[in-house]
Assembly symmetry: C2
Homo-oligomer: 207 residues x 2
DNA sequence: ATACAAAGACAACGGGAGTTTCGTTTGTCT
DNA sequence: AGACAAACGAAACTCCCGTTGTCTTTGTAT
């Protein structure tokens, strides 16, 4: 199953050339992704653009899916800006707005689409994506903790579920039904999430 | 762009053989999809399984994406069961349960995954999928109309948005974050959608 | 029944993607 | 500084997918 002897590609010998190869190949992957697209992408062309032998890419990443997974692992590191305005609904609204912006950035969008497409058939990619969202959700949920401390939401409120309720509307429109996403949708999603949380609909199961 | 001279493949001459070929090929596509997967699927193997020359498939469907689109168009015809219990929240809960069941059926799930993956890079597939959801949403929204007639929701409530609010939670968990979906999630989604609708959060924009 | 065109079958071809082999470079350890 | 193995590069090779051209079958109109 796994191709690399160690966790991340090239960790055995993270010297100058190896590290440079990795960054070059990942950069080439991004570039090919944006102007060729995942469907018509090939390992050979990525290697050519990176100025690297294709055998190198095959040895370290195995295939396109491996490249995408590695790309995602880098994305996870980025810190998520979590708003803190003193109001749950306002925090959620701001979070929704940044999600909206993310989906309007062509560069990031292409990458998300590639990751989703890969995760649909590749197990490693699926796990990497789940881990990515587990991390993001947990980080964003800090604003729910603060709302709970202020007494804005009832005790027992599921901190992650509030963020899920907010996010799902965007992903659904953008990637499932294919409808456009507007500022109005962002504000409405924030209102729904905040209202539901305050009403105690998003509490953790009694176990 | 478009390959066939007419709208649907084989409408020029819908005689016995042509129709039989279509059903055989689509059946073979389903079969290949379930036990080979979209990623490793190829037109040649589909044709072989269907007992048809591969040139025939290439001529009528052009590529795998075309096959998937045609498969989706058949799925659209299926009528959606819309509950009518006399209560908005109960209707939504039942709708949520059937969605849950849909995502637990391995056969249907494989197909949805294939369609989503295809829609991410193929324009025709994207349009077909949007049309599919436009149809499904509109059909399901009938239960919102009845709730409105009963006065359960305020006037001006966006009938489609209620269904979207219900559905999005499922799709998000299942295809984006990759988390499991349970009965509890179904009931909670129904509660959120019903509560939000009653609170007037899902009204159409004033325009 | 006959004619005609559409749809399909068959065979051969071309090309490109992934694999294999082997030689070379380079990072690290002593 | 030298040894050793990891990482990379280059070329040849193989396989399979998609295309093309031609002939045959079949549905439909007259």
């Amino acid at each position: 199953m796994s191709h690399a002897p160690e966790g991340k590609p090239g960790t055995v010998r993270p010297g100058g050339r190896t590290a440079r190869t990795r960054t070059d190949v990942l950069a080439a992957t991004r570039a090919e992704l944006t102007d060729t697209g995942l469907a018509r992408m090939t390992v050979e062309k990525v290697a050519a653009r990176a100025g690297v032998a294709k055998t190198t890419v095959y040895a370290r990443w195995r295939d396109i899916s491996g490249l995408i997974v590695d790309l995602l692992s880098e994305l996870t590191v980025r810190t998520v800006p979590v708003p803190d305005t003193g109001s749950l609904e306002e925090d959620l609204r701001q979070l929704a707005r940044s999600l909206l912006e993310l989906f309007r950035s062509t560069e990031d969008l292409v990458m998300f689409e590639a990751i989703f497409a890969t995760a649909l058939h590749d197990r490693e990619a699926r796990e990497a994506l789940s881990a990515f969202y587990a991390f993001r959700l947990d980080a964003s949920a800090a604003l729910v903790d603060r709302a709970a401390a202020r007494g804005e939401v009832p005790p027992g409120t599921d901190r992650l579920e509030v963020i899920r309720t907010l996010s799902s509307a965007f992903y659904y429109r953008r990637f499932i039904s294919g409808e456009p996403v507007t500022e109005r949708d962002a504000d409405r999603a924030a209102a729904v999430a905040a209202h539901s949380a305050r009403a105690g609909l998003l509490v953790v199961p009694p176990a």
